[in-house]
Subunit: 355 residues, 2 copies
């Protein structure tokens, strides 16, 4: 490990963060992949260096509405046309949707060919590209068609973050706060010490690998999401319901931020979290300019929660903090308590939230 590059092997394949140009060049020369390029990731290409040696580049326009099996089929047909066969390695370049969709395409092509991913957005770096989940949406349910499928390698060129506007960073920052609450300690404290200005000078090469390590540590113990991995859904039961209730006008990152506040409120109400620590989480979300409230009606959000795929036997279950660094999953909560929390998150916090 040098200052320039950090390597994480907790999941059995390398996740390489930092100045990854030379590693990526070696990978391309060794495997001669066909590249699937998310059209939105073009600005990141200079940060990756040359892709000389690739057998071809297929550029695909993505975005959430295109995260469907029909796009997978289009990608597979283009792989055939580009001469891909069972021996081909696929290298995907792009954000979260790209990782989900290109990864699934490689998992299906000729019943599975090796796949490596270059994450070009913050949310892909710290969340989507880590953990082996791939998937697309159905008309009737988000992320409901996919596979657990480990990549051969993940590249995390933190330099590419400089090519993104702040509102796209926010998608990843909400997940980083989540990882901070789960892990606590220096992971959370380092985020608290970031300057609220000058995000382009943040120590990305340190905070990104630290956030990745939180996720890989958890996923390594529960690949197929049978239990412990559930903690990574902190804030997400609320977030998914807010997104659904808004007709997906609220972004995932914004919804996760509000969801983290909601999880804190529910933990407070059920007597498992301190007001002081709740204040620290709210303050960090504020420092990172992440939203704390939603315009969605409590009733619509509750209805969406009831339809959530993680609900079993009719009872809502949550991931809740007991402390920063100590998160519990599978916590049952009654509809009345949940509704009271949903009322609160339609407004910004008042002093009463913390005392």
């Amino acid at each position: 490990m040098t200052d320039e590059i950090e390597r994480n092997d907790a999941l059995g394949y390398p996740i390489l963060s930092g100045e990854i140009r030379s590693e990526l060049r070696r990978f391309v020369q060794a495997h001669r992949p066909i590249v699937l390029l998310d059209a939105g990731a073009r600005p990141a290409l200079p940060a990756l260096g040359a892709l000389r040696g690739a057998r071809g580049v297929i550029e695909v326009r993505l975005g959430e509405p295109r995260k469907r099996l029909s796009t997978v089929e289009e990608v597979l047909d283009r792989l055939v046309a580009a001469g891909a066969d069972r021996g081909t390695t696929v290298l995907g370049i792009g954000g979260g949707v790209a990782g989900d969709l290109f990864g699934l395409s490689a998992a299906l092509f000729m019943r599975g060919v090796p796949y490596a991913h270059v994450a070009t957005t913050l949310v892909a770096m710290v969340d989507a590209a880590v953990g082996g989940k791939t998937g697309v949406d159905l008309a009737t349910a988000k992320n409901a068609a996919g596979r657990f499928s480990d990549p051969a390698a993940v590249f995390v060129p933190v330099d590419a973050l400089r090519t993104l506007p702040y509102f796209r960073l926010r998608e990843g920052l909400a997940e980083m706060v989540k990882h901070g609450v789960i892990a606590g300690g220096s992971v959370f404290e380092t985020l608290e010490r970031l300057s609220p200005h000058a995000f382009w000078r943040w120590p990305w090469a340190r905070i990104v690998p630290a956030s990745i390590a939180v996720k890989t540590g958890i996923v390594a113990r529960d690949r197929l999401e049978s239990g412990p991995r559930e903690v990574l859904n902190l804030g997400h039961t609320f977030a998914h319901a807010i997104e659904t209730a808004s007709g997906y006008r609220v972004s995932h990152g914004a919804a996760v931020s509000v969801g983290l506040r909601a999880a804190g409120l529910l933990a407070l109400r059920t007597g498992r979290f301190s007001r002081e620590e709740h204040l620290r989480v709210i303050s960090l979300l504020t420092l990172l300019r992440l939203p704390l409230a939603t315009a969605q009606s409590p009733r619509a959000v509750l209805d969406a929660m009831r339809a959530d795929k993680k609900r079993r036997d009719g009872v809502l279950r949550f991931v809740l903090p007991r402390a920063i660094g100590d998160v519990e999953y599978g916590v049952r909560a009654g509809d009345r308590t949940v509704r009271a929390v949903l009322e609160r998150i339609t407004r910004l916090p008042g002093d009463d939230e913390f005392r």
Copy 2:
């Protein structure tokens, strides 16, 4: 093991053949599956007994042109609508296309739910439902999108064969001859002793499990098709090319039968097979009323072979018999030799083929 039911565990999950009603009833009561029913398999339902206890039945019209990702998406949406979740078991009922498509749907639904299959056609019983391959076609390539995904169980109700017309049995008979040539011995000889009339009185409950055992024995040693499993492609390089050249008007079973003759001819020409054994194979195909010749032009078939996904580094490779019971894979053959064989299979065999 009783006379009525035969159990094969070579692949780590049970393949149950024969009088499977009571086993199927137990499975349905234990797992309360959602049933995916191939509309074409309705006539087989009485042979399966009641499906009481299933959480729902979704009937799907299939057929080769529907073997696409768009149909998978339709199935997944209908599973959501039927209330399926991550804890749901799916039970598919149908032929080869059903096993491929329902199996892939279950492998993708919520990133994979348990799947069991009831094979209702001969080709599904002895081939498609055995070995964990699932897949659909692309516009540009057959079976090019899929997964290796083991089922929880496979049910083989041989009684259901009585509900099929002879031309549908032929699809499976060609694969049974293939298994006979691969395994030799009693597997081949039992087929040779079948009466050319009265197929409804054939000892299906004996010959079907014997044919399945040939495939499971090979697949068990090579799950992911890295080498030895290749022998199961005996006759198939020719068959796929004939199907493609015909625009899929020639059925797979008919093409495999012609392909088995072609493999024998190529083995003869390259000095690895005896005329006597070639005659035995041709005689068995004739006894089973399987075709020996194709109307497709040698040039069109050769072109299709050249585009086959199993071709590597520009050389055609074949699976060829050295004897009945001894099959070799990865045999390279030059275009001229192959073309001479393709000329032969445009006509029925003359005496010169055997002396």
